[in-house]
């Protein structure tokens, strides 16, 4: 006989030297979702008990050399690799996405924005995949409004990698017009194929440049970010933990 035990999914927010969206992410997980949440210092190597790990935005190690290039050698990243390999949910937001790319947990690389400017504004994203733990509360094609804030969000992948991303349904979000049309004008940074977020083939690691943690409460002007955190919460709860 099996007993179904409802378990409250727990979140970990990694703090690297130079992270600056860690408190926002913590706030959403702990106070908006109401999930057990703890900070994970980048020198920690034990993620036991966590179901979801958030790599927050910021400028880890001053963005020296390349964005995310040094952070990927932080001791915690070995644990994040193992956590992801074991099926745990990992979301990298903005600089967190850049770290996931440098760590090889997601394919491709990040270049400077085509316009050379740091862009801080709301953008529209079209949901390309709902069969992921991060987007299951969204509808196919649903347009969400989420802010970006980055100077190096120009996603690059070579032709072969891009083909594979499309083939395996790994492009999760694309920059679009408010009505969902994908146009060059809707692309703020020059990302290939308007890509704003991708997942790995196993679909338990997501990287995205926009900041869902900055729009998860009515006070902040948009609650569209909630879809992503609610999805993670529901998915982790259903899987019964890691």
């Amino acid at each position: 006989m099996s007993v179904l035990v409802e378990k409250m999914p727990s979140f970990g927010v990694v703090i690297f030297p130079g992270s600056n969206c860690d408190h926002d992410c913590y706030h959403v997980a702990a106070h908006v979702l109401g999930a057990p949440t703890r900070y994970v210092w980048h020198e920690e190597t034990d993620l036991a008990g966590l179901d979801c790990v958030i790599l927050p935005g910021g400028f880890t190690y001053g963005d020296y050399l390349r964005t995310g290039a040094i952070a990927r050698f932080s001791p915690v990243m070995g644990a994040v690799q193992r956590f992801a390999a074991a099926g745990g949910l990992v979301i990298g937001i903005c600089n967190g996405f850049q770290i996931l790319l440098e760590a090889g947990l997601l394919p491709g690389a990040m270049l400077r924005n085509v316009g050379q400017r740091f862009i801080c504004r709301h953008v529209y994203l079209r949901t390309e995949q709902t069969q992921t733990p991060f987007t299951r509360t969204l509808s196919p094609g649903q347009v969400v409004r989420i802010p970006i804030a980055h100077g190096e969000g120009n996603y690059y992948a070579d032709a072969q990698t891009l083909r594979e991303l499309e083939e395996y349904g790994q492009v999760v979000f694309r920059y679009c017009q408010p009505d969902g049309r994908l146009t060059p004008g809707a692309n703020p940074n020059g990302s290939v194929s308007n890509i704003a977020g991708i997942c790995n083939r196993e679909r338990n690691v997501l990287g995205m440049m926009p900041h869902p943690e900055r729009c998860s409460e009515p006070l902040l002007g948009s609650v569209d970010g909630r879809f992503i955190f609610d999805s993670m919460f529901a998915a982790a709860r259903q899987s019964g933990g890691n």
Partner: protein
């Protein structure tokens, strides 16, 4: 023995260099109309201990592959001289 390894990291020719394009535009505005392209890279100088120049070069190239360059978007060259 101590060697100096001069590492130059540059974006692959196939990768758009927004910074380089901006530099080229700036040079054009200054009147340097002959500039056809500008590519911006990084110069990293290492002092390192190695048995000989060949080993120093091998070490520096491994460092490039591990950290100094991102092979998805960048190329690198290494030049080793006695320090």
């Amino acid at each position: 023995m101590t060697f100096t390894a001069a590492v130059i990291v540059s974006l692959k020719p196939t990768v758009l260099d927004a910074q380089g394009d901006t530099v080229r535009a700036g040079l054009h505005r200054l009147g340097y109309q002959g500039v056809q392209s500008a590519r911006v890279g990084k110069y990293i100088e290492l002092q390192l201990e190695a048995a000989d120049a060949e080993e120093a070069r091998r070490q520096a190239e491994r460092m490039c592959a591990d950290l100094l360059a991102n092979p998805i978007i960048e190329n690198y060259t290494v030049q080793v001289t006695p320090a």
